[in-house]
């Protein structure tokens, strides 16, 4: 009896695994099985593509043969002009999987496939000057035509891949603590929330230098609006906090006031594309205040090309210190280096919204710029996307994730964490897309 039991067990097991494989697990299942519950079908309904064997029938004779042999199952059949394959439109109601099996069995058929669907695995905005933004998508294109500057393929922050997972939220505010923002600029005007001017002590945080406008646009210019450039933070909002004067200068007290203001007025990300050589409690206390309120602080490393990271970027536990890379993922020669450097982002010949104080009514102005300021803006935009996607993350976790998901782009010369590029160039794809467990 034990033998019989085991025999039956085996028979039942065969049935069991046969049954288990039935519902849509096979690649050959018809699309209604593969795509239940409103998920788009994975191939064009009713279509099969036939690849003829090289020593078999010609396309013309195959047409005749198929029409006669599979009468009633094939509605139309034609030779696809680009590939040369035969494209079959099956009669409605035909069991496509069965028809495919029958066709595969024909001697003169090398293979048969469903006409599978695909889609771009990236979110590419429709901006006018997107091809200039090698930082976001670098296909090795000429990104600065006047200088004929060309990038290196894939030396970018993988923004288009990252945007497939998050395009941010208008509820996430990036404070641009800088020279102000050209609030009427065509690519920024719809993104700005009311800010403050700590230089003139009023509520008009209009830019009078241009630096803050360029930085703001890289972080979160209006995106997919068909004009200008794309901002990394896509839907994020911008809070202009003017702490630097028309020459781009300021003092720690004013900057500290701006940091506290931003933290108190809903900003989740504080972009500090500024710095000084001296450590002071004035700046540190303000950064600590904002950090304790849960803000993520992003600061530029400095543009001296020196071995000293400027403050506040040098506050290692409070700020993400950002250096600049170029269109080939090389360290910019002006980018300050030091142990506090966390990551790098593109900061060489970066294109963005511009403002010329001499032409204050020109609000469709764009230009190139250089600096770790611009690199920091990319990181601020990336963090805005991350916060929108994962609102429960702490600022400590955010600092870590930005670093851990960066690409070690100088690994060939300096593998691992180094004082030039920290953990490497940020990567929005790794930052935002899920890690696939094998």
């Amino acid at each position: 009896m034990k033998t019989k039991n085991l025999l039956l067990l085996g028979l039942a097991g065969i049935f069991f695994f046969w049954a288990a494989e039935r519902p849509g697990n096979s690649q050959d299942s018809p699309n209604k099985e593969i795509a239940p519950y409103g998920v788009p079908a994975c191939f064009v309904p009713g279509q099969l593509v036939v690849k003829l064997a090289s020593d078999g029938r010609t396309a013309a004779s195959a047409n005749e043969f198929l029409y006669s042999r599979y009468r009633g199952q094939i509605q139309s059949l034609r030779r696809e002009k680009y590939s040369g394959y035969l494209l079959i439109d099956a009669t409605p109601g035909t069991d496509l999987a069965e028809l495919k099996k029958s066709l595969v069995a024909e001697k003169w058929v090398q293979d048969v496939s469903f006409n599978y669907l695909a889609s771009m695995n990236a979110q590419i905005p429709n901006e006018q000057f997107f091809s200039y933004q090698y930082a976001l998508l670098n296909n090795g294109q000429v990104f600065y035509p006047e200088k004929n500057l060309r990038g290196t393929m894939a030396a970018d922050i993988k923004a288009t891949e990252g945007w497939t997972w998050s395009t941010g939220s208008s509820g996430i505010i990036i404070a641009i603590i800088d020279t102000g923002i050209a609030v009427g600029h065509e690519d920024l005007k719809n993104k700005i929330v009311p800010g403050y001017d700590f230089v003139n002590d009023d509520t008009d945080a209009q830019d009078d230098n241009g630096h803050g406008t360029l930085v703001a646009s890289l972080a979160a210019a209006e995106t997919n609006n068909g004009i200008g450039i794309a901002g990394v933070g896509w839907n994020a909002s911008l809070l202009p906090v003017k702490v630097l004067d028309d020459q781009g200068n300021g003092n720690y007290l004013t900057i500290a006031a701006g940091i506290k203001y931003a933290a108190d007025h809903g900003a989740k990300v504080l972009n500090l594309s500024l710095g000084g050589d001296n450590d002071s409690f004035i700046l540190k206390d303000a950064c600590q205040y904002a950090f304790d309120k849960g803000c993520s602080l992003v600061a530029a490393a400095g543009d001296d090309g020196s071995d000293a990271v400027q403050f506040p970027a040098a506050y290692d536990l409070l700020c993400t210190a950002v250096g600049a890379s170029d269109a080939s993922d090389k360290l910019a020669d002006f980018s300050n280096r030091g142990p506090q450097i966390d990551v790098v982002a593109p900061g060489v010949w970066v294109y963005g919204a511009a403002f010329d104080p001499a032409r204050p009514t020109e609000l469709r102005f764009y230009d190139w710029g250089n600096g770790t300021s611009l690199a920091a803006a990319h990181v601020s935009g990336a963090i805005a996307l991350l916060i929108a996607y994962k609102p429960l993350l702490t600022n400590q976790q955010i600092m870590a994730i930005i670093k851990y998901t960066a690409d070690d782009v100088n690994a060939s010369e300096k593998p691992g964490i180094d004082m030039d590029m920290g953990y490497g160039r940020i990567n929005l794809q790794t930052l935002l897309s899920p890690y696939n467990l094998d």
């Binding site: 009896m1 034990k2 039991n5 085991l6 039956l8 067990l9 039942a12 097991g13 049935f15 069991f16 695994f17 049954a19 288990a20 039935r22 519902p23 849509g24 697990n25 239940p36 519950y37 409103g38 998920v39 997972w165 996607y389 994962k390 429960l392 993350l393 976790q397 870590a400 994730i401 851990y404 998901t405 960066a406 690409d407 070690d408 691992g416 964490i417 953990y423 490497g424 790794t430 935002l432 897309s433 899920p434 890690y435 696939n436 467990l437 094998d438």
Partner: protein
């Protein structure tokens, strides 16, 4: 699978035979050992976003029916199972998002069932059967490797499944009984993912439950010889459920 399943089958085969001999004891209990294979593909709604997915469960199990009266049968189930979600499950609340793509979990499956046959008229009779199963699964672990740091992710899947069948049986044919009726399914489970990558730690639970409660159930019982019964059941509950059971009747 081999480590758990085969010893369990063999052990149960040996144990069930002496148990069956107890039918001759003064306590008039009848023991019926059996073997059942079932496959469930249940449409589920997963997580707070109620993402549609499909929960697939394969379970070979041993059964032991005890007829505790003329109308009521108690059944104990023990076996093994394999479970997976058909579509990817994303854990996006973790610091580093994780994707389970058809991750298969396995472990012991235990359960109990109670069946009653309250009415009979002519060649027909009614049967109500309720079954509760739960699982003891092994956790899974994976290496997580980022460019400059690495860590570990772990995964768990825990669920309970209650099925209630009310069926009308027709036994007018010799050796063959057909049945038909509604099946109610109550699936409650959760996927748990955790990760530790350098100083980042996180855990996310994602509960899931069946999308549809009730579906049709149909099947047949075939008597083979004097002692064997073969039962086949099929149910459509947005997706498919199939089971094949073999019992030995003393």
């Amino acid at each position: 699978m081999k480590n758990w399943f085969l010893p369990l089958v063999l052990l149960s085969t040996f144990i069930s035979i002496p148990a069956a001999e107890s039918t001759s004891q003064p306590i008039e209990l009848t023991f019926t050992p059996g073997l059942e294979f079932s496959y469930h593909s249940i449409a589920i709604l997963c997580g707070e976003q109620k993402t549609a997915n499909s929960f697939n469960l394969l379970s070979p199990k041993l059964t032991l029916q005890v007829d505790i009266s003329d109308f009521i049968t108690l059944e104990v189930l023990a076996g093994y199972h394999f479970a997976f979600a058909k579509d990817p499950v994303y854990f996006n609340a973790l610091p580093l998002s994780l994707n389970w793509d058809r991750q298969k979990f396995q472990g012991l499956l235990l359960g109990i069932a109670l069946a009653a046959e309250p009415f009979a008229f002519g060649d027909f009779f009614m049967k109500a059967r309720g079954e509760f199963v739960f699982v003891l699964e092994k956790d899974k672990a994976w290496e997580v490797t980022l460019p400059l740091v690495s860590g570990q992710a772990t995964g768990e899947n825990a669920f309970t499944l209650i099925t209630l069948d009310v069926t009308l049986h027709f036994q007018g044919l010799s050796g063959l009984t057909f049945f038909l009726g509604p099946r109610l399914n109550l699936l409650h489970g959760k996927f748990i993912a955790a990760e530790t990558v350098a100083d980042l730690q996180g855990q996310q639970e994602m509960s899931y439950k069946q999308k549809n409660l009730i579906g049709p159930l149909a099947g047949a019982v075939l008597e083979i010889g004097d002692n064997w019964e073969l039962t086949f059941k099929a149910s459509m509950l947005a997706r498919t459920e199939l089971s094949l059971a073999v019992v030995y009747v003393f």
